[in-house]
């Protein structure tokens, strides 16, 4: 864990659900040949960072 910057598990689970939903859509569309989707993953992460109060 990243020490004092640990994110709450509920928040993490919510983000993971979002990521999985993106990956699932990609997989169902393209099967095992599906390409990686790091840019979509980044979008989810950055949306989360931007919504958190600084």
């Amino acid at each position: 864990m990243s020490d004092d910057n640990v994110t709450d598990n509920t928040v993490l689970d919510r983000i993971i659900r979002q990521l999985i939903s993106k990956e699932r859509a990609n997989y169902l569309e393209n099967g095992e040949a599906a390409r990686a989707i790091p840019s979509e993953i980044k979008k989810v992460i950055e949306d989360q960072i931007n919504r958190k109060p600084r």
Binding site: S2, V6, I20, E23, Y27, L28, E29, P38, I41
Partner: protein
């Protein structure tokens, strides 16, 4: 998913239209398809996979993969399309899936899917995608565990087997998507770390380069490790084969039996040696403090004892009491002690050397702690001595056993029989290869571990530098979040995989205990290494038939686990599925008794079973056991335009009716599916 019907039209060896109705009966749940080799069993299975997922078997199981259209239909009938249609039930609905291949433009068309209601074909809603729908009915990653090619065999043992087995568990668990997410998260995380580093400064950049360098080295080492694992596993398989060969030679049966006994004993001693080594390694952490403080303990004890022996004031003398005596000017015997008198002054002076109860208690506690340390230190040397003696004893035993094993090997290598000599020398070579490969693995693992430690330390330093850098701030938050996400997702997956592994192991053992003659049990460790143990908990050498039986048991256990998970509503995993189990040649290497056993348990493995067997495999024992369980039965009949050149007539009698398995002087060359009965 329950498959009702399949139509193959000019597909591979199948000429014209061939219809196959699968049994949907719950009791008579077996559809039996009999065929001789090369007539079309694999093609039929391929048709199923190709229609639903568009993939074909590997080259080693599927000759001429470009010939999807039946050659006779193409050459003589001018046909241009091969087609496979499949009707199946899912939920409360019936669907028809179809896929075709267009020879003239060599194109495999996309999957078509319609719903069938009251006999009419209804198109699916405009935005629905057939591929997606099929993937939700039977995820393509799970499909190979239901419709699998080749004879069922145990491919899950050995180094490559553990990988196969791990993949099977992961795929049946539906963790592919979560693993894809994990991989993408790791890519994104690395990107953020790099950005944070670039914004921090040259020191961080240098550290980052070192980390990357070490990571690359680990990858190289891991590749080499994989090669050595494979090499050791192949050598072990060879050794097992030679053991079987040698064990079958009557004249050296005793030597072989002795060798097997000694090798089991050796394995136990080696395992005990590892344990003794671990105890010795723990010794320092257990006793280090006591031993290091021995000198200090001695000095403090001497000091305390000195004070004690002076006995100016008894150890339990109460300072409070003396003060009360002085304040009251009265001794405890009642005599008056006036202030300023000689007695008063004497008692007062005693207080300078006096100790009170609290100090006494402190001294006592310290003394007792020091005594405990001292006692522990004494036990330490005894334990070390015992541990070292045990290691010497085990090493002696191991050397002794190895000498005996070398003697046996030399004896066999010098045997009069050329055959034995040859096998033994080949076995020796394999043993040497295996041992070298095992040593290399130990070396590589240690090197990987050293690099990992270095990476951990460097990452810690890198993180510290990021934390101090103002420029890296905005990336650091992303690094932290991706770190936490990776950890959380990894933990979740590990939990699910452990659960799946345990469940599959239980199901597997239940099947094995019920149907295998010998009392084997299966152990699966966290790396998916699978060990089959005999009733004495020794690693069991298995016959080909037993391996095949194990393979079937795995298939059954995995299919059953998928069925258990079909209604799982998980956040990160795909739900399981219930699908027909299509098994090719399940009775291949089995002896009569096992054949009967397998025929008994196969129908219990899934709701719908399709068995593809050669006519010789459908023996009396098999058919007796399947009695009352076969819903539909088919034969694949080979038709040939040639006259057969006096080839022996191949026919089969089922329910008093004779069927020709190969027909000559026909109008076409190709396979036809014929329903029995």
């Amino acid at each position: 998913m329950i498959i009702e019907f399949m139509r193959v039209s000019n597909w591979r060896s199948f000429y014209g239209i061939n219809d196959l109705w699968f049994s949907t009966d719950k009791t008579k749940n077996v559809t039996l398809i009999r065929a001789e080799n090369g007539v079309g069993k694999t093609s039929l299975l391929a048709a199923l996979n190709w229609c639903l997922f568009g993939f074909l078997p590997g080259a080693d199981e599927f000759e001429n993969p470009n010939n999807l259209l039946n050659l006779h239909a193409k050459a003589f009938d001018g046909e241009t399309h091969a087609k496979v249609e499949l009707e199946f039930l899912h939920g409360n609905k019936k669907f028809k899936a179809s896929r075709s291949f267009q020879e003239d433009i060599r194109k495999t068309n996309t999957l078509k899917l319609v719903e069938i209601k009251d006999g009419a074909e209804l198109p699916l809603p405009p935005n629905s995608k057939p591929d997606r729908f099929i993937n939700s009915v039977i995820p393509r990653e799970m499909a190979p565990h239901f419709f699998f090619y080749g004879e069922a065999k145990s491919k899950y043992t050995g180094a490559s087997g553990s990988k196969e087995f791990g993949n099977a568990v992961k795929s049946i668990l539906g963790s592919t998507i979560a693993n894809m997410a994990l991989k993408d998260l790791e890519t994104v995380h690395k990107e953020y770390v790099k950005q944070a580093t670039d914004s921090t400064g040259p020191e961080a950049i240098k550290i980052h380069e070192n980390i990357k360098d070490f990571e690359n080295k680990i990858l190289e080492k891991k590749d080499a490790l994989k090669d050595y694992e494979e090499e050791a596993s192949q050598a072990q398989e060879l050794i097992d084969d030679f053991n079987k060969l040698l064990a079958g030679t009557a004249s050296i049966k005793t030597d072989q039996a002795n060798r097997a006994r000694l090798e089991t004993k050796l394995a136990k001693k080696v395992s005990s040696l590892e344990k003794a080594g671990a105890i010795k390694s723990k010794w320092l952490s257990e006793f280090g403090v006591s031993l290091l403080s021995m000198e200090f303990t001695k000095k403090v004890n001497d000091l305390l004892n000195q004070k004690d022996t002076r006995r100016k004031i008894p150890g339990n003398y109460s300072k409070k009491l003396v003060n009360e005596v002085l304040e009251d000017n009265t001794c405890i015997c009642g005599r008056r002690i006036g202030e300023g008198t000689k007695e008063h002054e004497h008692i007062k002076s005693l207080l300078e050397d006096a100790t009170d109860e609290m100090v006494v208690n402190r001294v006592m506690t310290t003394k007792s702690a020091l005594e405990r340390l001292d006692e522990r230190a004494k036990g330490a040397w005894e334990k070390m001595k015992a541990s070292e003696e045990r290691i010497i004893e085990l090493n002696d035993s191991i050397t002794g056993i190895n000498i005996e094993l070398v003697d046996i090997s030399n004896k066999l290598a010098g045997h009069d029989s050329e055959n034995i000599k040859e096998n033994e020398n080949a076995r020796k070579n394999a043993t040497s290869k295996r041992d070298i490969a095992n040593d290399q693995q130990i070396r590589l693992k240690s090197e990987i571990s050293t690099y990992e430690t270095s990476i951990r330390n460097l990452k810690k330093k890198e993180t510290e530098l990021h934390a101090k850098s103002e420029g890296a701030k905005r990336f650091v938050r992303k690094v932290h979040l991706t770190t936490d996400l990776i950890k959380r997702l990894t933990d979740k997956l590990q939990y699910e995989e452990t659960y799946a592994r345990v469940m599959i192991k239980d199901k597997l053992n239940k099947i094995i205990q019920e149907f295998m003659r010998k009392s084997f049990t299966v152990e699966i460790d966290k790396d998916y290494n699978l060990t089959v143990l005999d009733e004495n908990n020794n690693k069991a050498a298995k016959s080909t038939g037993e391996n095949q039986l194990l393979g079937l048991a795995f298939t059954g256990a995995i299919a059953n686990f998928a069925k258990d998970r079909q209604f799982e509503d998980d956040d990160i995993l795909l739900p399981g599925t219930e699908a027909p189990l299509v098994v090719d040649s399940p009775f291949g290497h089995l002896d009569t008794i096992y054949k009967g056993g397998v025929a008994e348990f196969l129908p219990k493995l899934a709701r719908q079973i399709v068995l593809l067997v050669s006519t010789s495999q459908a023996s009396k024992e098999v058919m007796n056991e399947l009695e009352g369980k076969i819903g539909n039965q088919y034969i694949l009949i080979s038709h040939n335009k040639n006259n057969g050149d006096d080839k022996k007539l191949e026919e089969i009698t089922i329910d008093n009716k004779v069927y020709e398995l190969t027909k000559y002087d026909q109008d076409f060359s190709g396979t036809k599916l014929v329903e029995v009965g």
